[in-house]
């Protein structure tokens, strides 16, 4: 398993909500929950409103609330784009 962490940014319409590194991202798309680890294939998904859970390299967790958003994954860079997003 690739040990390189994912670089994640959570962006809302008027600001960058969070950015940093994480080992795992769990988000809820319109199809269901999806968990992303390093080395995931490029993906563009529509998020349904709900939580996005990030597991950081030190084991702690960050939870963000995102509504009306997208999730894009490419080369271990994850961007979560939402009209409204906030950390919980």
């Amino acid at each position: 398993m690739a040990s390189a962490p994912l670089s994640v940014s959570v962006v809302s319409a008027d600001q960058q909500v969070w950015s940093g590194e994480a080992t795992m991202v769990v988000a809820r798309t319109v199809e269901g929950e999806i968990g992303i680890l390093a080395g995931h294939e490029p993906l563009l998904a529509i998020l349904s409103s709900g939580e996005v859970r990030l597991t950081l390299p030190d084991g702690s967790k960050v939870v963000a609330e995102a509504a009306d958003g997208f999730l894009s994954v490419e080369n271990d860079t994850i961007t979560i784009v939402a009209r409204k997003a906030a950390l919980v």
Partner: protein
């Protein structure tokens, strides 16, 4: 006190009052530019992310979608004009309106009908003074745009775009706004929003090739959801740019107004000193003349 002197004093007073106002407006704008610029910067990651995603979908999927394919005949075009709510901002509103007029002429020469969507009270005033119709307008808070307004404008535009042109819809959407280049330069800019032209230089730097995305659910649904958001973010960006430009433009205009007031005050002070001195000289010569006459009458 002589009449002339009184007139000058009045003029000095009025120039001083004007200066107080323009100076205050200059300072207010100067402080708000910073905030407006920060907001433009803060919204950049969002629009960059959206633009990147849209380019990816549009480039790597050969799906036919209303929003990306150019209609064969374009009958009606919508022009969205971003002006300001208040005046006293130099050429801010007029330059954007002039640009819009040029665009209108161009579109008309191509045989297209033009419908207007106006943002800002000045644009609305320009249109109502000339008794021209606009489709919709939004006023209030052009200097501090809210995302909700952008969303509303986006929805209205998209709704018009998706309607058939025989039915009052439009086939093309242009936006005209002032782009904030620097504190001293704001350029009116015309951008065609729809049908899509993904030509964002900032989004696709040559080094990073767009990856082959997997879509969830399928590409078409993603595009359906993505494009309205894209339009919103472009409109919001235009609004923020326009707000920053408005402040910069107002600051510049008010600065030169304050400088002019200074010059007026100086000129009128000179003139009033002159008038006062003339008055004194005249009074002295009257007294001397009177005394002379008295002393020569005694002898």
């Amino acid at each position: 006190m002589g009449a002339q002197l009184r007139v000058y004093r009045q003029k000095i007073k009025s120039a001083q009052t004007t200066k107080k106002i323009t100076r205050a407006m200059e300072l207010i704008s100067a402080s708000r530019i910073q905030k407006a610029q920060a907001r433009v910067a803060a919204s950049t990651p969002y629009s960059r992310a959206i633009t990147r995603a849209v380019s990816a979908v549009a480039t790597y999927s050969n799906i036919e979608h209303v929003l990306t394919t150019e209609p064969e005949v374009i009958n009606r075009a919508a022009v969205v004009i971003f002006a300001s709510d208040r005046g006293l901002a130099g050429a801010f509103s007029s330059q954007v309106l002039r640009e819009a007029e040029q665009l209108t002429e161009l579109l008309r020469s191509q045989g297209k009908d033009v419908v207007y969507y106006l943002v800002g009270r000045k644009a609305l005033a320009y249109f109502s003074f000339r008794r021209r119709v606009s489709e919709r307008s939004w006023t209030g808070a052009t200097d501090q745009p809210q995302f909700d307004t952008a969303q509303e404008i986006g929805e209205a535009l998209l709704e018009a775009f998706l309607r058939e042109s025989d039915d009052g819809g439009v086939d093309e959407i242009h936006v005209v706004y002032n782009r904030f280049v620097s504190m001293v330069t704001q350029v009116p800019e015309v951008v065609r929003l729809l049908p899509l032209e993904v030509v964002e230089g900032e989004a696709t730097d040559a080094a990073s090739v767009l990856p082959l995305y997997e879509f969830e659910p399928e590409a078409e649904t993603v595009l359906d959801a993505l494009l309205p958001v894209y339009i919103e973010s472009r409109i919001f960006n235009a609004m923020l740019q326009s707000a920053a430009s408005e402040h910069a433009s107002r600051q510049k205009a008010m600065k030169s107004a304050s400088d002019n007031a200074d010059k007026l005050i100086k000129d009128f002070t000179r003139l009033s000193n002159n008038a006062r001195q003339t008055e004194i000289t005249q009074q002295i010569s009257e007294i001397v003349g009177g005394a002379d006459a008295l002393s020569s009458a005694k002898n």
